[in-house]
């Protein structure tokens, strides 16, 4: 590894973070959709949905957080795409720096940007009546799962970010990911769904991740759910990382 890897990554991270603080509208855009969903489901559909728990915001929040991340990473791809298109990516690659720093700076920026969005959404949820008795440890576990999930989706986002030919192409990949929570336990219990849909819902990653976070918030024993959730996150992370690195090597060779 290049001896300047950490220093160069820090410098480039500083650059990207400036981008975020100077275009806070991207954070707002990222959080508007999940907040709108939350309002819609709590105040419009919520009355008709029976989840078996008293507080629907409590039920809903884990899924909303995943949607927040899914919509947030489309900006990760977008930022990377702009660097590719503007030629600054090539400028960095032609300089005597640790070349992979350029990519890692984007990945770390994605983590920070999504963290900010999540904090905003949780604050809105608190205003809407979200309550939890979760202790520090449970909160840390939730943060850890969300971070791992962000990291996995970020590496997915790197692939179109590097190889897309248009800005729309770079961010369109996130739509199906945003949609995934709707066919999961995020909004209604899977038990109400018809056979094949239910089978899909119960065996896709979002359900286990949502259930694990929900159990942590409601102080239920998490049991094996959390391990399934972690396995999904790590699995997606590894596969996405391999494909992203392949796309990266194609670009720099």
């Amino acid at each position: 590894m290049n001896k300047h890897f950490f220093g160069d990554t820090a410098v480039l991270l500083g650059r990207s973070l400036r981008h975020i603080t100077r275009s806070l509208d991207t954070i707002i855009t990222t959080t508007i959709m999940p907040i709108a969903f939350m309002l819609l489901f709590v105040y419009v559909f919520g009355g008709a949905i029976t989840t078996g728990t008293g507080n629907y915001v409590n039920y809903l929040l884990p899924g909303i957080l995943l949607i927040t991340i899914a919509s947030g990473i489309s900006y990760t791809a977008f930022r990377l795409f702009l660097d590719m298109k503007g030629g600054i990516f090539e400028r960095f690659q032609s300089m005597p720096i640790a070349r992979s720093s350029v990519l890692w700076a984007h990945v770390l920026t994605s983590l920070v940007a999504n963290l900010i969005s999540i904090v905003v959404v949780v604050l809105v949820a608190l205003l809407m009546g979200f309550r939890t008795g979760a202790g520090v440890l449970a909160w840390l576990a939730v943060a850890g799962i969300l971070m791992l999930f962000t990291l996995a989706l970020t590496w997915i986002a790197v692939i179109p970010g590097l190889s897309a030919t248009s800005a729309d192409g770079a961010s369109a990949f996130s739509y199906p990911i945003i949609f995934l929570p709707f066919i999961s336990s995020a909004f209604v219990p899977t038990a109400t769904m018809p056979g094949p849909v239910r089978a899909f819902a119960e065996n896709q990653p979002v359900t286990s991740i949502v259930n694990a976070i929900r159990d942590l918030f409601t102080q239920q024993p998490v049991g094996s759910t959390i391990w399934i959730a972690l396995a999904w996150c790590v699995g997606i992370l590894i596969v996405a990382y391999i494909f992203a690195m392949a796309a990266y090597r194609r670009k720099i060779s």
């Binding site: 220093g7 160069d8 400036r18 600054i88 400028r91 032609s94």
Partner: protein, 270 residues
């Protein structure tokens, strides 16, 4: 500018080949650039100038041939090559969201030079950007952007600088400023490889000129040598010396008749 015959060239390109799918862009490009000299790579749109620069800048791999920069092979010693040069690409590669000064500080930090702030301020002054230094680059004009781009390339004083069409799109004043910067670099011993479509630019700046056409360097020489290539008959009609433009068009016109692939007899004068 004379160089001692014993000194190895800073840039040495031999038999460089590159195709994009079926399109053969480079079919055996050879040229050397002596230390401290300015070499202009002249060619029309699509001749392959940017392709040569990208290969030298370790951004693109050639299909065949070899290239060394500062004694290092661009493939096997890419990291050493990157320590040796700085690139100003054809299209300004600046960070739009940062200010001009922040762009310079960013590059200075990445090049690990001492006191990035002072270096940034010095360059802002030198490129008449001092007043605009605190403004976002997205508000800059094309010429200001280009000047910032070139200023960013000078940080760290690399021994070799690649400038890919440095003055395309600049107004005459900005163009003169860039020319001045190139002359200063050469005066300080920096080796400059620049590409251009402007014949007068090559005439003004270059110690040697290579004309890239049909995938090869069809002529390589000093301005005087290139001018000597024109048939003397022409001199009888015109009072002033033929311009490089005449030379260029005569040569390019000739070779395109036989498909552009064949070697012309006007080889490099060593």
């Amino acid at each position: 500018m004379e160089t001692t015959s014993g000194q190895a060239p800073v840039i040495r390109v031999q038999g460089l080949e590159k195709s994009y799918k079926k399109l053969e862009v480079l079919r055996g490009v050879d040229f050397d650039v002596a230390r401290g000299s300015v070499f202009a790579l002249l060619g029309s749109n699509g001749a392959g100038k940017t392709t040569v620069v990208r290969i030298l800048a370790t951004l693109l791999k050639a299909d065949g041939g070899t290239a060394t920069v500062n004694g290092f092979d661009v493939v096997t010693q890419a990291a050493d090559v990157r320590e040796s040069f700085s690139l100003t690409g054809q299209f300004a590669a600046v960070d739009e969201i940062l200010t001009g000064r922040e762009n310079l500080v960013l590059v200075a930090k990445l090049r690990h030079v001492k006191d990035p702030g002072a270096i940034a301020d010095g360059l802002l002054d030198r490129f008449s950007l001092a007043d605009a230094g605190g403004r976002k680059v997205s508000e800059y004009s094309g010429g200001m952007r280009r000047r910032l781009d070139i200023a960013m390339s000078l940080i760290g004083n690399p021994p070799v600088i690649f400038l890919d069409e440095p003055t395309t799109g600049l107004d005459p004043q900005a163009r003169l400023e860039v020319w001045q910067a190139v002359r200063e670099l050469a005066a300080h011993g920096t080796t400059v490889l620049l590409t251009t479509q402007y014949l007068d630019e090559a005439e003004q700046l270059a110690d040697r000129i290579g004309i890239l056409h049909g995938g090869r360097i069809i002529v390589n020489g000093t301005l005087a040598e290139l001018k000597a290539l024109l048939p003397p008959a022409k001199v009888e009609y015109v009072e002033k010396q033929p311009t490089l433009e005449d030379v260029f068009l005569a040569l390019v016109g000739d070779t395109s008749k036989d498909g552009g692939a064949g070697d012309t007899s006007v080889g490099a004068k060593e």
